[in-house]
């Protein structure tokens, strides 16, 4: 990753306090400095209520910060209403359980909702809807169906297609695979990866699946009680497994195995988070032991 690049999204002292001045006052996030660079695949993890959902909704201007600033390509996204609204087309946000937002009478129309709001021509809209549908593996025959007739996994993909049809430069997803069966999960993850590589877009993904994090992301941040507690490559973060577990987070199963083996006296590096790394380390150890 070329760090000389200008960050595509940057936050500065980002703070959000809910219901300020009432007994329900609650600081969701406090003083967050964050940057993501073009083309990065970024992971966000954290316990429920750690502020990660509030945080990502700031990145496309859905929530206005109570303190601090958000910059998209160097520009403060809250300078005017027009800028804020425009940012939403460049920074696509897929909420948790996005299938609950489907409303149109056909899949086609639902995917076209975003592009239509962008005031594109009918031809462009058509091209984008078909492209987004193809990318998310929705067959042409499904386009005329009602979204309410589809299976759970299909609905989820329609909802994701509805956001990527806007061709955002940054795609943010809040637990895109929650509640899906293993097959649906793999399909959705493949869709997201396909979008990432085809468009060379930036992706920010909130997830509970440490395996996904270990496999896909370039860099991740860990939210804890409204702050970013850790940040770095998966290798850097997972090497602090004990701290992660203290925050109530899990680590990849392979990391756990390696931790236990180390406790039992084996000489293994601390930054193991994939099966391949573990087997390589074990083989190397065996070679050395001979």
């Amino acid at each position: 990753m070329d760090r000389q690049l200008e960050p595509i999204i940057r936050t500065e002292g980002l703070t959000h306090v809910y219901s300020a001045g009432t007994p329900f006052e609650q600081t969701a996030i406090e003083n967050i400095d964050f940057a993501v660079y073009p083309g990065e695949f970024m992971g966000v993890i954290g316990h429920t209520g750690s502020g990660k959902s509030t945080f990502i909704q700031h990145l496309n201007g859905l929530i206005a910060p109570t303190g601090g600033k958000v910059f998209f390509q160097g520009q403060d996204i809250h300078t005017s209403k027009l800028v804020t609204r425009d940012t939403r087309f460049h920074v696509g946000l897929v909420f948790q359980y996005p299938e609950y937002q489907l409303f149109e009478e056909s899949v086609y129309k639902d995917i076209a909702f975003g592009p239509k709001n962008m005031k594109l021509t009918d031809d462009e809209i058509d091209e984008r809807v078909r492209w987004a549908a193809a990318l998310t593996g929705l067959e042409e025959s499904l386009l005329d169906k009602s979204p309410f007739e589809l299976s759970g996994g299909q609905k989820r993909r329609v909802a994701i297609a509805g956001v990527i049809a806007m061709r955002p430069q940054v795609l943010i997803l809040d637990e895109p695979t929650a509640g899906l069966d293993p097959q649906g999960r793999d399909e959705v993850m493949d869709n997201i990866r396909a979008f990432h590589s085809q468009m060379n877009a930036t992706v920010i993904m909130v997830t509970h699946s440490m395996e996904d994090i270990a496999r896909i992301v370039d860099r991740l941040v860990v939210f804890h009680q409204g702050h970013i507690a850790m940040g770095g490559t998966p290798r850097e973060v997972f090497s602090r497994a004990a701290e992660l577990e203290q925050m109530g987070l899990t680590v990849p199963k392979v990391t756990k195995v390696a931790m236990r083996l180390r406790e039992l006296g084996m000489d293994l590096p601390r930054d193991i988070y994939t099966t391949e790394q573990l087997s390589a380390a074990l083989l190397a150890g065996k070679g050395a032991g001979r």
């Binding site: 009432t22 939403r88 609950y100 937002q101 409303f103």
Partner: protein
């Protein structure tokens, strides 16, 4: 934004007002309203204001929250004030142009009406602010219990009310979420004329209705699988008991009414 809706909002606390039995509080609110309508002159209004302030102080509810409850009514209040100022017969304030229509009597009535509306709203908000929705419906059910004799489905009504109250925050949250999701796709709920705005609501209302029906269905199944079959023979986890402070409070309430009636008759 939408979360600021104060309707039926409850501020948990542990003041004497919070601890009163919900039935007592409902009855006291009724007494308070009656007393308010008995007030007719400066002294009686001043007395009622004093009663309200005392209750608010006792409840530890912030004045700011009460003011927020009154805010949506500002148009009605202003409208009432203007109508009363202009259309009450009596001695004009001054003999210039429009002001000729304003009378001293009108000003007095306007002041009383404005005070009455504001105090009425504050008083009832005090009830919902200090009583949890569940306690409120429980209290209401028990108070209306005698009506069962004439076949009024009191339990069913109370159950519907508690379900409705229970789901207000859920629906608001859901609305907020769907609104955000559609805004993320470029939906615009804030600009345009009435027709455009109404049309912009479709992407919000369709998912909201679908999820409301889904929730209702799930709730019904959940209730049935726990053998709910209406109010007959149903016992409660939290029994309501009137204790000494409730009787004292009711006695005080009656005393307030008596005072107001006396003040309204003999005061200025």
């Amino acid at each position: 934004m939408i979360k600021d809706i104060t309707l039926g909002q409850f501020f948990p606390g542990n003041s004497i007002v919070h601890r009163l039995d919900p039935r007592t509080k409902i009855l006291l609110t009724i007494l308070y309203i009656v007393a308010l309508f008995c007030a007719k002159n400066y002294v009686s209004y001043a007395f009622m204001l004093l009663v309200l302030i005392t209750c608010v102080r006792l409840s530890t509810i912030r004045v700011k929250s009460l003011v927020r409850g009154i805010k949506p009514l500002i148009i009605i209040i202003v409208f009432t004030a203007i109508l009363n100022m202009f259309f009450t017969k009596g001695t004009p304030v001054a003999d210039v142009w429009l002001i000729r229509r304003i009378t001293w009597e009108g000003l007095r009535t306007a002041l009383f009406m404005v005070l009455r509306i504001m105090m009425l709203v504050s008083g009832t908000f005090l009830l919902t602010y200090t009583t949890s929705p569940m306690a409120l419906t429980d209290g209401l059910e028990q108070l209306l219990n005698p009506l069962k004799k004439i076949r009024v489905p009191v339990h069913e009504l109370a159950m519907m009310m508690s379900i409705a109250l229970r789901f207000i925050p859920t629906l608001i949250e859901e609305t907020d979420k769907i609104m955000s999701a559609q805004k993320a796709r470029g939906a615009d709920f804030e600009t345009g004329n009435i027709l455009q705005r109404a049309k912009a609501m479709i992407p919000l209302l369709v998912p909201l209705f679908i999820s409301a029906f889904r929730r209702a269905d799930e709730l019904a199944t959940a209730m049935e699988s726990r053998c709910y079959h209406g109010g007959e023979g149903r016992t409660r986890l939290k029994q309501l008991h009137l204790v000494r402070r409730d009787y004292m409070a009711l006695l005080l309430g009656l005393l307030v009414i008596a005072c107001v009636i006396l003040l309204a008759r003999f005061g200025v």
